[in-house]
Symmetry: C2
Subunit: 346 residues, 2 copies
DNA sequence: TTGAAAGCGCTAACAC
DNA sequence: GTGTTAGCGCTTTCAA
């Protein structure tokens, strides 16, 4: 029969025989402390240790269907924005004694779908970091397994997101205070929920603050994408730029530099996320720091609560505050723009 | 009994009943095309689709013990050096129709051990990217499951590594050609195999080229670590620095900058790995580019070959060539050093 | 407290 | 070709 390919490993039956007890007793001794006499239990543990017995997780999980594993699906692992999210998720999972595995889908909705399909029966729950799937596809999986989304809101699926609205308002106010009036938003992927939300929030803030907000794009949310955007940025050159994310902003700064445009002298640049590296580019990037680690911890905590039976149809997205980190890429616009610095709110 | 927590999903028995055939026939129809009459097969597929049947992977894998999943364990996912490794591993896994999951152990040997222990029976094989475990611990797991290590050599375990020796020689020659004579190596983690190998190779190259090579450290292989190293670097300040990795090099450049030391005017800096971001720091970093993507692909290819029965006690490490990428952080030393530029080999 | 036995869902030997 | 049946290793009633 289907013997294991190598030499086969000890099972509870081996332990049971060796101890002269029933397999079920071994099972109990090993997983339900107290339901077996101290004596037998001790002997069983002893023999199990001697034989090097270890439960076969596949067999263990078959009857219950629970594996103690959750997966964090990340839309693109090469984006440093996920580092803190991952770390947060890991710590929450570890605290609850769950194993967290990661899956990278490289910005591909197809791969994302495949991975979910493959894993849907072998993990206890899904955490989606910035899914690129349609709402319908997300909901379909969410019906089969506990799921939480991060940085993305889908009706009927619990989610945790940064406060993009508030954040974009901060960014707008910062620019207004410096005296900027003409701002361009550099779009990320059209399938990105955050992109849409950020653009809308910025437009709204701009209106309130009396600024003219243009939009260009979409561009790939990468350094290369930002570099490409730079070319589109110069005609006409605004006094300030806000990019969908830091990678895009850094790429744009590089492209601008190559075109002879100086940041922040000729144009100010703001990114989003405060990724690793946003402080070591030149000039250091002013950016809207999302509460990334908290996204990970809170998301996974909620997921695990759902797995443990919390009601799955929760109220509304958990919104976490963002923070503007002012570094060197923003400054007052050139005089020709005619605004006195600090006119925004002071 | 152990019913699934939600409503229970359709099984082959449901499909079989609906079709009026035996469960085994359903199994065959679904997994061994051709061993069932076209007619029945078609009907079975039809019903299966209608019922939304999907095999329970846990049950499927129990008899064979094979899950079609491999895990890539990464010592620290927040180090961009792994991006290409991961991508390479993913593509190789996908090509062989294996599911690749990632596991980050955050530089913790304990976590690494736990993860392996937890997954050893549920994955078909392990790929270790820069393990921080002892050789003995690695071998112990390698005896239980197919395994390959990347960027690390352990006796009896197949591995794929960059050619650190050749690479360090390139780096040394580059500095020699520029006229450098006093070089300091900034060490990474003492448990890192690559750190040891790089240091030895550099020392050997330095001897051949008539350079004085010092070593400081160890430091954490992070930007913060490099920043700390800068303070130790200035007394006495060498004319050139080679760091264990790019993160350290970038941190050192920042620290040096804060101390008023100019790169490359006062001191040249070389990193290792060519990570994302090494070209957007200031000055852009000269670095030894490891064949990272290939590390991932070749490693996983080999792993899968082992899973499929290739002999597990392979000859020697697969060594892949490195490449020196010269950017802006290296230049001839100040005149006081008294060497004519280009004296190295021309 | 412990044992016997059924069952989780699927695969594969062995008949027919 | 297709059905019967015996496991894979563990958990969990149900009795004793």
């Amino acid at each position: 029969m289907g013997k294991r390919n190598g030499e086969s490993l000890p099972t509870i039956y081996d332990v049971a025989r060796e101890c002269g007890v029933a397999p079920s007793t071994v099972s109990r001794a090993l997983s339900q402390p107290g339901r077996v006499s101290a004596k037998t239990s001790e002997r069983i543990h002893e023999v199990a240790a001697r034989l090097g017995y270890q439960a076969n997780p596949l067999a263990k999980y078959l009857p219950t269907g629970r594996t103690g594993t959750i997966v964090l699906i990340v839309s693109d692992i090469t984006n440093p924005v996920y580092f803190p999210v991952i770390r947060g998720a890991e710590s929450a999972a570890a605290a609850a004694e769950y194993t967290l595995v990661l899956s990278d889908v490289g910005e591909s909705p197809e791969r994302e779908r495949e991975v979910m399909e493959k894993l849907v029966r072998t993990v206890d729950g899904f955490a989606l970091a910035t899914s690129r799937l349609t709402d319908a596809a997300i909901r379909a999986v969410a019906r089969r397994r506990p799921m939480v989304t991060m940085n993305r809101v889908t009706q009927q699926v619990p989610s945790v997101v940064p406060d993009n609205g508030q954040g974009m308002r901060y960014a707008g106010e910062h620019l207004a205070e410096l005296g900027h009036r003409r701002v361009t938003y550099v779009s990320g992927p059209p399938t990105s929920w955050a992109n849409t939300v950020r653009w809308r929030a910025l437009r709204a803030a701009g209106e309130q603050l009396g600024m003219t907000i243009r939009r260009i794009g979409p561009y790939a949310p990468t350094v290369a994408g930002g570099w490409a955007a730079a070319a589109d940025l110069v005609s006409p050159l605004p006094t300030a730029v806000i990019a969908y994310n830091d990678l895009l902003a850094i790429g744009a700064m590089q492209g601008l530099h190559d075109l002879g445009v100086k940041v922040p002298d000729d144009v100010s640049v703001i990114g989003c996320d405060n990724i690793l590296g946003s402080d070591w580019c030149t000039p250091a990037l002013t950016t809207l720091a999302a509460p990334l680690r908290e996204l990970g911890t809170r998301g996974v905590q909620h997921l695990i609560a759902m797995i443990n039976g919390a009601d799955a149809r929760p109220r509304r997205p958990l919104v976490l505050p963002s923070q503007l980190i002012v570094r060197e890429s923003t400054a007052p616009p050139r005089d020709e723009d005619g605004d006195r610095p600090g006119s925004g709110r002071e």
